[in-house]
Symmetry: D2
Subunit: 358 residues, 4 copies
């Protein structure tokens, strides 16, 4: 029974994805993206987003964000982003690197992982006052956020409008885009270009792909240099079809939304179960596929002794862990986790779980 | 019947590789390279090369070369390489980019794709005279070369000694390393660290993998910063096992050498068949898995009309094409190609091919 | 009478400096630093700092800091610095640029412009927890600070020890180094290498030079690549003697300390005069050559109407201005400023100033 | 008597320039280019070039070229330049560095230091064929060349037209622009924007300034990001007037052309005198202020023994030296050099020199 809740990346790829990779390897095709899978993907993404766009499959979310930063920062400038965003804290200075030192990620304080529009405006205007500083060029919004929350459509629209009014572009880091769409029950178009998003890092790996992400340009003028940049980045795979075939399978029959809905539901179930334990603290709402929680020490110690694995978040003294669910997290694994936590908390517990199961 | 000889990358992955990917996806594992496949790969590569080393799997040869360049050029400097090397002509300025403008690829003239040691020494010494120029830091040798040839062990040793004597490091771009080992019938150790190679871009994709290369450090002091660099580069895949599993399968039961020997043999067969046609010109020997050839116009036109596909090489007026064979090129496809070429050349031909078949 | 207190850079160069430039131009000399002035400077700086060191004259403080950052961040990493430091807020992303995207300036909160050691340690340790972030490489201390204060010798020692204990190098941005030495009445050696500083941006321009700064390496191993970096940066001036001659004149007969002491005294006099005005607020102590102050509106309006010029600091709503004194600010100009401020504040004022004059 | 012909940079600054520096330091002015000298310079340059333009004074030619490269290469690309150009051989990889790895200088073979238009077109078209290489973005023409020659107006026009027709921008490296204008006896406008030049590195240091160059944008759209770039580069001097005042004095009363004509004439005199010596070889015509020559061994040895100093050019075995004349090279010094050379060559010589003097 699964005890590894460390990351949504501990799961393998979904069987539909693996099958698509194997099938796409049957014949010779043109290398470097000249294959029919990649061409089909372009049409499929345009349908999905209900607009003309440019799509560049790449291998990781880090490179997707990095290449976007390199385009946003020409000639050079700051990219306002959440203080806890992956771009700022977990990409080894990628914005700076990919842009040859042109970009700098500028952290903005968040509430529940989200940047309030007023805070963004204040940061932009303070930056604009300093003539000798890095001028702002863009904002980057992580949807869903690193706090396990989502921006509403209204919030995205407001932030994008504030940015555009100040001549800044809008990037969305959609490493968990599917989880956000599933949560908001909106269309991909509503959440992106219709709300003012210029370009999107569209994630698939965390949600059932083997290794596949895509950079999606709604503002197509920005795409002009991408083909060079991606090649130089070593993300123009010679056997590119293996990326495109993954993304096609990901979108086929709404696999991406089915996977995301399942993962979100499992996180909600984790939260509901933990909430019954006195002393458990949740720093943020749980709106996507993972729960941030501070557990009482006996619960934490007991779960570790049972062999459970989680990642830590924030300052050590706060004791917050992330419990990540994925496309393939079994209901039974969640229920076992909750039972174990209840047991370590000294709750009778079994009845409650039985109730949930009914 | 296969008519696509455009590149060794038009082939899909070998079945052993696909099977390994699927199998490695059965369970949860630690992400970002903490998985057992990656750990096993490290031991396997050490055995293969008969020495302690550091291995970093990455997704493409371009990023392997680029990351190597970024390390070689600290604090900054020139990397001497073949004028026709991939590093210099086909990576969109990757050496310059990955090093943040620190590296510059410095082309050196070649004979049959190989840099003569005397030419290298002359280039290094001319460079050393110019105090204000980019100081030399390294040489990069492509083995097998872009001309379809290989350096002998003696040549590698001589070039490496010349470089080391002048305080330059030695990188080997081994995108077709397997083809060179197969051709030379030597050990991987003999061709690399025993000959003076400090670090190696070890290729697998062109020879049957889906997307898998590895950076191999024999000079382990150079590896110190690689884990950061690879992560920043977006080549620390979250589901890293899919890369490591490919490389393990690649080495299992000498799959890599069997694939390379077959591809080399097919190229030799193409050359032998074409050599019978009057007017065919070969600019270089054929020592690995592709043939460079200039065909008489009727032969070229006929093959194109038949639906054959090749890539061009060099200046258009020279009319040189590359006929690339791969791990899965069928003997029958080669024989059909030769028969067609003979037919377009007006040769009776059938007998000759029959003879080869016997 | 001087009414421009906008910056210590509104002043011209000191007559001793101009004389030295003119005299150094009398004859032919070797270009690019091969001249006798540059050689003499190296010996002079070694005497001044009482140790062997390497000196690289450059034209501006921005390039001094940028080149230092490019060295500190090899292979790459974060440079902890004050949140209000020039490096972080006023060099257009120079740390990132000069290092080719390798460095990132990481702001640390300050008290009176100084980083408390406990805050530094907390920032370093929080950073060290995030494996995927930019690893810390160095700290940069601005001495005197942008708040008009100085670190004590004990504070510098403590911060440097905290950094070294965590394997971080120590840079000092000494754009106003002379003002700090004058204030602390210590030796240059005590304030730098004896306290643990590895390399120093030694400023002269703000304190009477025309355009001359120097990068001083106490940790001489770090200097290895500087000659290339400086040339590439366009700061290896062909007629380099004009820089070295300025720096020699700057040190001759303690001109640098005399200038700094005067500027510091003038700032103290400004503060003393303003402090007599009810409602004037000083956010920080005044320890070097400028005063940060928030003035009552009638005083501010009156001074602007009189033609006085200052620069603003911090958020607009705080109304803080910087009143900068320089090597050549006349006592009379300070007294006129104070008299005017007193007049606009409705104070009788003349007596107080007369008292100060006595 | 002057025996240092190593470089045009061994000379000090002209007295007019020094006087202007001293005078510009008399009063307080706004720092960072807000001063009246800089404003006056903008108008003066517009008059000189007979067009609206943008001017950015900087401290060295290396940074002028580097900043131009960083603009030319956005998003990224190759800059075709002479194989012997300063940009390619003497700026420590500056094009690559300043552009954050975006630019690569691509050397083109020259005849007498000049790129023939047909050679340029061939290089561009060969580059355009390689989809994975660095795409061409610009050409950079050195005027006067490193071979001591000048491009004619017709040649510049032809090269610029070839570049523009292929969507490449045109940069002119005018480190010795004055010498070229003096030689061609044309207007600055004819030699630049009227011939198709988009931006110019306008040199002054080699021709009598202390340290002053200017980047001149005729294609003003390219200037948009320069103010940030120059500041980041550490070439926005706080006491910027000292640069602008130099450039104003340089242009005043045609000082720049008078200096250049003198230096050119001295080089012509050197050449005429050396040409009388049997065995002296000149690899190129002498059209500006220096002579490239290979001297018979006794002449070379004799001059060295006399204390003369020159720089070497090209491969050591060719024995070519550069004899550089400057704005202040005395006729007598040239004649002494010639007399000495004649003496070491065993010529009677005195008569010839007397003849030249008359």
């Amino acid at each position: 029974m699964k005890r590894n809740f460390y990351s949504d990346n501990v799961s393998g790829a979904a069987p539909e994805i693996l099958r698509a990779i194997v099938e796409s390897n049957a014949d010779d095709t043109a290398p470097y993206g000249g294959d029919p899978y990649t061409q089909r993907l372009e049409r499929r993404m345009a349908e999905l987003f209900e607009t003309e766009l440019d799509v560049y499959p790449v291998g990781t979310g880090t490179v997707a964000n990095g290449l976007c930063a390199s385009i946003l920062a020409v000639p050079y400038g700051g990219i306002y982003c959440a203080d806890i965003s992956h771009l700022h804290t977990s990409e080894c200075g990628g914005a700076e690197f990919w842009s040859g030192g042109n970009a700098r990620s500028v952290p903005v304080p968040t509430v529940d992982g989200r940047i309030p529009a007023a805070t963004l405006i204040e940061a932009i205007e303070a930056g604009a006052l300093r003539a000798a500083d890095v001028p702002g060029r863009a904002i980057s919004l992580t949807q869903g956020t690193e706090a396990g929350t989502v921006y509403s459509l209204r919030e995205i629209r407001e932030l994008a409008a504030a940015a555009h009014a100040r001549n800044l572009l809008v990037h969305m880091d959609g490493a968990r885009f599917a989880n956000a769409v599933a949560r908001l029950d909106c269309t991909p178009a509503e959440l992106t270009w219709q709300a003012g998003v210029d370009l999107l890092s569209f994630g698939a790996t965390k949600n059932g792909a083997l290794c596949a992400e895509a950079i999606v340009f709604f503002n197509r003028g920005l795409a002009e240099t991408m083909r060079y940049r991606r090649r130089r980045a070593g993300h123009l795979y010679s056997k590119m079809r293996f990326l495109s075939a993954q993304l096609l399978a990901f979108l086929e029959d709404d696999l991406w939304l089915r996977n995301a809905r399942h993962a979100n539901a499992m996180a909600a179930r984790v939260r509901q179960g933990l909430a019954e334990i006195p002393g458990v603290r949740f720093p943020h709402p749980t709106e996507i596929n993972f729960v941030l929680a501070a557990l009482p020490k006996p619960v934490w110690d007991g779960l570790v002794a049972d062999g459970y694995s989680f990642s830590r978040r924030g300052a050590p003294r706060e004791g917050v862990i992330r419990i990540a669910c994925a496309w393939d997290t079994p209901v039974e694994a969640v229920d076992s986790l909750i039972e174990a936590a209840h047991r370590h908390a000294g709750l009778v517990g079994a009845g409650a779980v039985a109730g949930r199961r009914a």
